[in-house]
Structures are given as structure tokens and as C-alpha cells.
């Protein structure tokens, strides 16, 4: 691969944002999907599509908010000059760009990198918060073993339907406290051993992250076949100290803190999900609150209003603004000044959002408003210095 200027430009503009997006998108247990041991070409290939989308999004946002001082055809010419094999003469607009605007380009690139990381971080969290990975296969992460061991598999559509039939709770949504596993291992061709314990962790095979490598258990027990002893008359001798005398195997505690099982020897796996009562109670309480509380409606209106104000600040160029004060505000006030304005509007709007938990009526406490005022006294001050003073 030749390191031409065109390749470097392509790498900075598309590949690095794509890689950053993927790095922050695959987090926690799903980070195994972003493997640093992947071949370089493989990583580049999978970063191209997110890279292009991010670059287009940043380009559109930049054009609609700050705007380019040069035309789109000039941008195309600069890019063509960079990516060409230097047989053509460099255009005047490209020379001007290199001489005057290269620093702006670097700042823009850093912003694109930051946006990529934030977009990756936010998108994966949004998928998890909204549980889209459990509802739609399209959003599901490749690490299926996480869903299996965390018990989230029970909330996937297929399993949820099946579990409803066997569960007494028809509005079933499982939150797992821990996962108990019975694991049958093949020691050799004739011998098999049964272990049970609580799953604390697992490893996947580095080449294939759909395959289990190891399982880590705590409070592990091994099952051993009972030796049946007979008395002189041929009757079975039952040990009175033995627990579970009716069962065919004895359960023996494995000493130690963590038991590591080689998953390659697993014949089968039986999992029992111990439900989290605390989370269930919390969810039921929240559901009840949502049904009864009109506060939620107020909060939604507040959030939508704030979102609208933020969008207006970003895309004001698309609006037909004629008021001279607004024109001065949108075009002359710095980014920081506008940010302060948004925070101040947010503060104002938040006065109308009460946190008092009353299912029947919405109450506004003066104490609460005063507390908010005193804790955010800094924002009106900042607004005066950075916005109002310049508008007057």
C-alpha cells in the first residue's frame, strides 16, 4: 500500500472517525467485537461506512451552523487536488487553503474525531437503554453469550413468548440477579462430570467471538455418583447423615474461590436465572408513577421545548430571521454566549418542572425554586457578561 497524500486524506477523513466510532460503540462486554488483533484491512473495511456517515453528518452540521467561507465546488477542487497523483497543477484555491485555512481544517478534524467518539458512545447506550438490541435483531450485538449469561435472553421476543407460557407472571419481564449453571463436562470418552455454580464471568475464543472459551464459577459444587452399599441380606444401606437421599448423586462443594471451566469440554449447559426482586419492585413502582403522575407530561413538554431551542441555535441559518436583535444574537454572539443562553432558558424552563411526587396534583414549591435560583446564580451573571452586554 503506497502512502500517498490521497490515502492519508482518506484515512484522516473517513477511516479514523469510523474506527473511533466503533471503538466507543462496542463497550463493556461487547468490546470483544472490536478486536485490536483484527487485520488492518478488516478494521479499515468495517470503518468505512460509519466513517462516511459521520463525515457527511459533520459536514452538513458545519455547513448549516457555522457555514463554509468557500463554495462547495472549491471544497471539491481542494479534495481533488489532494487525492490526485500530482500530475495536474495545484489550483489557486487549494494553495490558499493550505496557506490560510489548514489550522481551521485541523480543528474541524479534531471536532469530527470527538463527534465520532461521542456518537459511538451515545448510540450504543441509546440501543441499550431503549432495549432495541432485545427487540430487533438488527441492533443486536454479536456477543450472544452476554445475553445468555446475564439473563437478558429471556426478554428477547422469542424467549419472552415461550417463558410467558411457563411463568405465572403474564406481564413477565425478567431482571436477573444472578445466573446459576449446571454444566455437564466430558472428561474423556466414557467419563462425564456435572458441576454447578453461579456464573461470574466468561471468555470468548479470540478468533471467533461467538464461541465460548472459559466459564468462571463461584460457589461451585461437583456431583458424584452415590456408591450403593448393601448389607449382608442384600438390602441398600442408607447413610442417615447424607442429604438428598432420594437423589442418585451426592453434591460436594469444590474448595476455592473461583472455578474455571474449559468450555471446549462442555457437553451441555442448563441455566437458571435467579430473579432480582429489588429491580422488579423498582420497575413496578416506576410503572405506577408513570400511570398516575402528570409530572411526566410536564417533563416531556420541558424536554421537547429544550430540544427545539437547541435545534434553533444550530440551524438558525435556515430560519427567516428579520428581528435586528435576533440577527445580532444569532450572527454576532459567540458559541459560548449561545451556550449560556441555552443553559439559562433551561434553568427558566426547569422551574416549571416539579420533582414533588404527588399523584393527584402538580405542586410548585417556592423553596424548591429558590434553591434552584441560588444554586444557578452563576448563569444569569454569565449571560449578562457574554450576551446581554453585547446586545445592548
Amino acid at each position: 500500500m503506497n502512502l500517498t497524500l490521497g490515502f492519508i486524506a482518506f484515512f484522516i477523513a473517513i477511516v479514523i472517525p469510523g474506527i473511533l466510532f466503533r471503538r466507543f460503540f462496542f463497550y463493556g462486554e461487547f468490546s470483544k467485537q472490536f478486536n485490536t488483533k483484527d487485520p488492518v484491512l478488516h478494521s479499515i473495511f468495517f470503518s468505512i461506512i460509519p466513517g462516511i456517515v459521520i463525515q457527511l453528518a459533520c459536514f452538513t452540521i458545519y455547513a448549516a451552523t457555522l457555514g463554509f467561507e468557500i463554495s462547495f465546488s472549491d471544497i471539491f477542487t481542494i479534495f481533488r487536488d489532494f487525492t490526485s497523483d500530482n500530475t495536474q497543477d495545484t489550483d489557486q484555491v487549494t494553495q490558499n487553503f493550505i496557506n490560510n485555512d489548514i489550522t481551521t481544517f485541523f480543528i474541524y478534524t479534531v471536532c469530527v474525531f470527538t463527534f465520532s467518539a461521542l456518537a459511538g458512545f451515545a448510540l450504543s447506550r441509546l440501543i441499550r437503554v431503549q432495549k432495541w438490541d432485545m427487540k430487533y435483531k438488527l441492533f443486536r450485538f454479536q456477543n450472544q453469550w452476554y445475553y445468555v449469561f446475564s439473563g437478558e435472553v429471556l426478554n428477547m421476543k422469542k424467549f419472552e413468548e415461550a417463558h410467558r407460557y411457563s411463568s405465572n407472571d403474564k406481564t413477565f419481564e425478567q431482571d436477573t440477579f444472578m445466573t446459576y449453571a449446571d454444566i455437564l463436562l466430558s472428561v474423556n470418552e466414557d467419563k462425564k462430570e456435572l458441576y454447578s455454580g453461579y456464573v461470574v464471568d466468561y471468555d470468548l475464543i479470540s478468533d471467533d467471538n461467538t464461541q465460548l472459551d472459559k466459564i468462571y464459577l463461584i460457589d461451585t459444587h461437583r456431583y458424584k455418583k452415590k456408591e450403593i452399599k448393601h448389607d449382608q441380606n442384600g438390602n441398600e444401606i442408607i447413610d442417615p447423615n447424607e442429604e438428598n437421599t432420594s437423589k442418585s448423586r451426592n453434591r460436594i462443594k469444590v474448595p476455592g474461590d473461583i472455578f474455571v471451566l474449559n468450555a471446549r469440554n462442555i457437553v451441555n449447559l442448563n441455566l437458571t436465572y435467579v430473579p432480582s426482586l429489588k429491580k422488579k419492585e423498582e420497575k413496578e413502582r416506576k410503572k405506577l408513577e408513570i400511570k398516575k403522575n402528570r409530572i411526566i407530561t410536564v417533563q416531556i413538554v420541558y424536554l421537547l421545548s429544550l430540544l427545539l431551542i437547541i435545534l434553533i441555535h444550530f440551524f438558525y441559518r435556515l430560519l427567516p430571521i428579520k428581528n435586528p436583535v435576533l440577527i445580532t444574537y444569532f450572527y454576532d454572539i459567540s458559541f459560548f454566549g449561545k451556550f449560556i443562553t441555552i443553559i439559562l432558558i433551561n434553568l427558566f424552563l426547569s422551574f416549571f418542572v416539579t420533582t414533588e411526587e404527588s399523584p393527584k396534583e402538580i405542586k410548585y414549591s417556592i423553596k424548591y425554586i429558590l434553591l434552584k435560583l441560588s444554586s444557578f446564580i452563576i448563569w444569569p451573571l454569565l449571560f449578562y457578561f457574554f450576551v446581554l452586554k453585547k446586545l445592548m
Binding site: 447506550r125 446475564s150 405465572n168 446459576y180 426482586l277 451556550f339 452563576i378 457578561f385
Partner: protein, 78 residues
């Protein structure tokens, strides 16, 4: 004039710090809501106590026999 500039700088620094704190808190809350763990810290704590671990095993055994968590004593254990 000079004093005004200093005051503006101090206010800007406080503003930036406050914003950073807001963003940090938001990210922290989002991270805790979406964390991926096979077992919770509370669960590990419960198993580390031999008495609770024993009771939990009995509850699991009972669940295997009855197929109903309500028939176990899970509520009193956890």
C-alpha cells in the same frame, strides 16, 4: 476595562468547569444505567456469605422442583 476582562475570564472558567461537571455527571449516570455485567455486586456479596449461599442453593433446588420462584423463600434471603 482590565478588571472587566479579568472578571469575564474568571466567569468563563467557572462556566466551563460547571459545564464539564454537568457533562461528567450525565455520562456517569448513562454509563451506570447501561453497564454490562453478568453478575451484580450485590449478588457476589450474597454468595460470599456462606449462610446466604446455602439458602440460595436451597431456593434454586426448590425452584427446580416447583418451577415457581414464589414458592421459594427468595424474598427473605435477598
Amino acid at each position: 476595562m482590565e478588571n472587566n476582562k479579568t472578571l469575564e475570564n474568571i466567569l468563563a472558567a467557572i462556566g466551563v468547569l460547571t459545564l464539564a461537571a454537568i457533562v461528567y455527571n450525565g455520562l456517569k449516570s448513562l454509563t451506570s444505567q447501561t453497564e454490562t455485567a453478568v453478575i451484580s455486586k450485590d449478588a457476589v456479596k450474597a454468595i460470599q456469605n456462606p449462610e446466604t449461599a446455602e439458602k440460595l442453593r436451597e431456593a434454586v433446588d426448590k425452584y427446580h422442583d416447583t418451577g415457581d420462584w414464589d414458592k421459594t423463600e427468595l424474598k427473605s434471603i435477598l
